[in-house]
Amino acid sequence: METILEVKDLVRHFGKLTAVNNVSFKIPRGVCFGLLGPNGAGKTTTVEIMEGIQAPSAGQVLYKNHPLDQQFRQEAGIQFQSTALQEFLTVQDTLNLFGNLYQKTIPQQELIELCSLGDFLDRYTHKLSGGQRQRVLLAIALINDPEIIFLDEPTTGLDPQARRNFWQLIELVKSRDKTIVLTTHYMEEAETLCDIIAIMDKGKVISQGTPRDLLQAHFADTVIQLPKDIDEQILHEMQLSFYVRNSHYDIQSENIEHTIQTLLTHKIPLQQMQIRAWNLEDLFLSLTGSELRV
């Protein structure tokens, strides 16, 4: 697949802190690329360097094989984590304003329908709700009919309903064959939206690929979840490999019948047992957080 954006050996220092430490990846055209990581992992710094907002200490960003230039500005759509808009302008005024900053724009009516802005077009932007505001900011990011769209934690701070609405909207944008670069710390969001993910921790990319490949590479079959009131020592004695979570244990199992048999022989109560597939949340925790105990 054709690469639209390439990041090469990116480094960014802030004083003694190295926020981004030698990060490289390629983003193929038309995918939704997710940059995941805990707070402070360097996601926002990386994405802002990719957007040309911050300069890297070392390394390069190539858009269509060229360093970022005026063409990139015309063809990129950006939504920052937090953006204030000008006060005393309505949503309509704001769309007019940003539309006039670009050579090529999407027809306004289409944009209003796509992002469902019709109900509050005449409202001042500083009087919108959180979900409405994010839709306006997305509309501004889409106003130049961009080829590549950067969304930095677009659903942080939204209630679950608004978050799901926003995901639907992103799916619509994806169906228009746009490349999307998304940062998030919601694994569910990455699982729903992203085709390729890169997991960052402490300034480095520690794993990347499709969510499915990553899960297969890191975990055996299934996970059995048990409440934490069992003594950790007994699990060790049974020779199970497991993660200690806040409220429960996640036990790795290649053969469910066999594992459950073992638990029963040790008289472990199974009332609150859950059997499920591994998900990105588990992957994320195992890569960035708690240790696997054997």
């Binding site: 040309g52 950006i78 953006t83 000008q86 007019n96 006039n100 501004i140």
Partner: protein, 335 residues
């Protein structure tokens, strides 16, 4: 150009729709002008001003009693013509000369001059020759009006450009604009143009409105007055731009803007003439743009000065505008 117009119109809308700040921009100067015209409507200023041709030392030698009278401020002059001119405008109540001839000048329509003359006679100056000059009194409100309007322009330009840009930077709006193809120059020019047009409109509105009721003493050219006020606005806007070029904190920007605006409010001759102030104050006032704006506008209104007379003011304002703009644009950053 399209981008410039878009930013320009957006800023105009933001300003005009922010009713509370707009009404303050208009109400503040009007309240001050009417306040001063009422407070100073009868001349209850008890300080007498006497011009001395030569040195005060000479006066003390010749007329010790008169020179020691309390509540009289003595100002030294070397130029007789200039001193007489002040009497004509009621800015001095009396001018006295001991050498080569013993003469004094008063304005025949000045009650303070009349009283000072009596005091002079009673303290050894009976033999001085009386000379009278004629001239309509320039009320304090006529004198202070250019100062008030200029001060309002100063606050509007410094805070309306400087503070607002810092606010945009702090809340991330500038960063959002940086992510578009808009250039910094287009953005800054649009901000400046918007403020210039709005503040000029407000100033004209306030002037005309107050003039209907107070009938200002204006003997110069309205075109020249408008020109000097435009130049002054540009200079003050550029100054605001300079302050806002890099700052991220609104508090710090507010403090810096106050640091610039307060000395100007006090030392630029807005409220009182700097005549007779210490040398360093007068020198300091010369580096403040507001001084040149106020002096230029006041010279046009009260003395009917033409372009050649206020040329130094125009030159100073132009040079400062250019200087502020160049430095401001060079050190500007979006974030």
């Amino acid at each position: 150009m399209q981008a410039f117009i878009a930013i320009f119109l957006a800023r105009n809308k933001e300003f005009l729709r922010d009713r509370s700040s707009l009404s303050w921009n208009i109400a503040f100067p009007i309240l001050l002008v009417f306040g001063f015209s009422i407070i100073f409507s009868d001349d209850n200023n008890l300080l007498y001003k006497v011009g001395v041709i030569g040195t005060q030392q000479q006066l003390t030698t010749v007329l010790p009693n008169f020179a020691q009278t309390q509540h009289i401020q003595f100002v030294e002059f070397t130029d007789t013509q200039q001193a007489q001119d002040r009497v004509r405008k009621h800015q001095l109540d009396l001018v006295i000369q001991t050498h080569p001839q013993a003469v004094y000048w008063i304005n025949s329509s000045s009650p303070k001059g009349y009283l000072l003359e009596r005091i002079l006679w009673g303290s050894g100056g009976q033999d001085f020759a009386q000379q009278t000059v004629e001239g309509k009194e320039i009320r304090y409100v006529d004198w202070v009006l250019p100062g008030i309007l200029a001060m309002n322009m100063m606050f509007s330009c410094l805070f309306g450009v400087g503070y607002v840009i810092v606010r945009y930077r702090k809340n991330g709006y500038l960063k959002r604009l940086k992510a578009t193809p808009l250039s910094a120059v287009q953005f800054l020019l649009a901000q400046m143009a918007s403020r210039l047009i709005l503040i000029q409109a407000i100033t004209v509105f306030v002037y005309v409105g107050c003039d209907l009721f107070i009938d200002f003493h204006m003997i110069g050219s309205y075109w020249l007055l408008f020109f000097v006020s435009t130049l002054g606005s540009i200079c003050l806007i550029n100054m605001g731009l300079l302050v806002a070029a890099r700052l991220r904190s609104e508090e710090l920007a507010g403090g810096m803007l106050n640091l610039f605006s307060w000395p100007m409010m006090l030392l630029s001759g807005v409220w009182f003439s700097l005549e007779g102030s210490p040398e360093w104050v007068i020198a300091l006032a010369q580096i403040l743009p507001l001084t040149h704006l106020v002096e230029g506008a006041r010279a046009i209104m009260t003395e009917g000065a033409g372009i050649t007379q206020i040329f130094p003011e125009l030159l100073a304002l132009s040079l400062m505008s250019l200087l502020f703009l160049i430095i401001g644009a060079l050190i500007f950053r979006w974030e």
